[in-house]
């Protein structure tokens, strides 16, 4: 459904993505993991065209586009069917929770107000935020803001949702509520690409794991294979280190 071939991206001469291939099928949850600085955020930003890749091909919904030369019109078309959840939520501060979700339906897609309203109520109920509908982002907690951001992303029923470390800006006691919402989405068959450091989530929820390091995909496989019998040394070391960190934090 979404396929990326041979993405390259440099920042001021330094290559951050060194030819990444990547594929998501409908209904899959892919966890992208790897040490910080390995290029995970840049990968998501290139897929969503928030960053312009130097080279690469994107195949989405049957259409193939060269990432270096894609038109703004095609970018907008792809974004209309893609959700993005940011590390620091990025809710619109001038709008209430309700308006944040409505905006993508009414203003961006021209959906009629009553239809949009009932859709907004649906998704806010799904993330457990309906009783805060009239609040402004500055008046609710980080975990609540992220749940609203998820509602905003899923409201237009996108084909795929990209999550960039959705819980890493949150206090530890608030990560659970966000992960629970994401688990529920996964169970409903939402197609998701999740950059995360939450290994529990990756193990339980992701169908496949992409392990990145230094701008390259080191290993790719089903979640079970990856965690029980990683093929690469680098993956083994990463798993061992991150498991140790988990024990410390417990």
């Amino acid at each position: 459904m979404l396929e990326i071939r041979d993405i390259h991206k440099s920042f001021s001469g330094e290559e951050v993505l060194k030819g990444i291939d990547f594929k998501v099928d409908k209904g899959e949850v892919i966890a992208v993991i790897g040490p910080s600085g390995s290029g995970k955020t840049t990968l998501l930003r290139c897929i969503s065209f928030l960053e312009k890749a130097d080279k690469g091909t994107i195949i989405f919904d049957g259409y193939t586009h060269e990432m270096g030369t894609i038109s703004n019109r095609d970018i907008k078309k792809i974004r209309m069917r893609m959700g993005y959840v940011f590390q620091n939520f990025n809710l619109f501060s001038n709008m209430t929770v309700f308006e944040n979700v409505m905006e993508g339906l009414t203003t961006a897609r021209g959906i009629e107000r009553n239809t949009a309203r009932s859709k907004t109520i649906d998704v806010l109920e799904k993330v457990g935020m309906i009783d805060k509908a009239e609040y402004y982002p500055g008046e609710i907690s980080g975990g609540q803001q992220q749940r609203v951001a998820i509602a905003r992303a899923i409201a237009p029923d996108p084909d795929v949702i990209l999550f960039d470390e959705p819980t890493s800006a949150l206090d530890p006691e608030l990560t659970g509520e966000v992960l629970d919402v994401m688990k529920r989405l996964a169970k409903e068959g939402t197609t998701m690409v999740v950059v995360t450091h939450e290994m529990g989530f990756a193990m339980d929820v992701a169908s496949r794991i992409t392990f990145m390091e230094n701008g390259m995909v080191v290993e790719e496989g089903t979640s079970r294979e990856f965690f029980s019998s990683p093929k690469e040394d680098r993956s083994r070391q990463f798993i061992r280190r991150i498991m140790r960190e988990c024990e410390y934090t417990i």
Binding site: G83, N94, G138, A153
Partner: protein
């Protein structure tokens, strides 16, 4: 104070106040409206990074902030006729003040737009909004409350600077005071009287500023008490 002086002052008060209300205030409002639109346009082409227009905006701001206002007034009113463009004094003043303040307002708008976290713009793109819609719906509504105090300070400065229009024959508040001072040989009293009337106007604007700022506060920094917030909105 002699009776004669008191007579002159009471007589002239209305004579000065009327062109103040009929000319100084419209001149201030029209020039400000022009500078507002111009400043916003100059700021938008800069943040949108439209190559040629951005460079034009930087050049424009450099010129208009780097030269005296009275010189700009003279060029427009006394200079342009020699290249075939003759304008009345009042429109000349509106254009000069508007173009001058436009350069300052451009900088106010630009910095207030840049104060909004980039992430909100990216989030807007990802829900499918175009760049202009994002500006209109998300960025400008948030940057306006930030720009507001500086814009209003510029408005108050403009009110006082309109007295320079007297030098290009606009019959406004200060021109009238000058005329009466010349006729009565009481420059001290009359210029003080003019000062008091300006002070009266600018004090009103300062009061208006704090009144409006209190109404805008919910947008720039969300209050924690949701109930209070909604009360302000409603």
């Amino acid at each position: 104070m002699s009776e004669r002086l008191i007579g002159i002052l009471t007589d002239s008060f209305v004579k000065i106040l009327i062109p103040g209300i009929k000319v100084t205030i419209p001149l201030t409002m029209l020039s400000f409206a022009f500078s507002f639109v111009l400043g916003l346009a100059l700021a938008l082409v800069q943040v949108a990074d439209i190559k040629v227009l951005r460079q034009f905006a930087r050049f424009y701001i450099w010129v208009f902030r780097g030269t005296p206002l009275i010189v700009q007034l003279f060029i427009i009113f006394f200079g342009l006729p020699s290249i075939g463009i003759t304008l009345d004094a009042f429109p000349s003043a509106v254009i000069a003040f508007g173009m001058n303040l436009g350069a300052y307002n451009a900088e106010v708008f630009r910095s207030s737009i840049q104060a909004i976290p980039q992430g909100q713009m990216e989030a807007a793109f990802m829900i499918g909004l175009s760049y202009p819609t994002t500006m209109r719906r998300i960025i400008l509504p948030q940057s306006f409350p930030i720009a507001f105090p500086s814009l209003f300070n510029n408005l108050i400065s403009l009110l006082k600077d309109t007295s320079l229009a007297s030098s290009i024959t606009v019959i406004e508040l200060f021109t009238t005071a000058q005329q009466i001072a010349a006729r009565t040989y009481e420059p001290f009293a009359l210029y003080c009287e003019a000062a008091v009337i300006y002070l009266f106007f600018s004090t009103f604007l300062t009061w208006l500023q704090s009144f409006l700022e209190a109404k805008l506060v919910w947008k720039s920094k969300p209050v924690t008490d949701a109930g209070k917030n909604r009360a302000i909105l409603g």
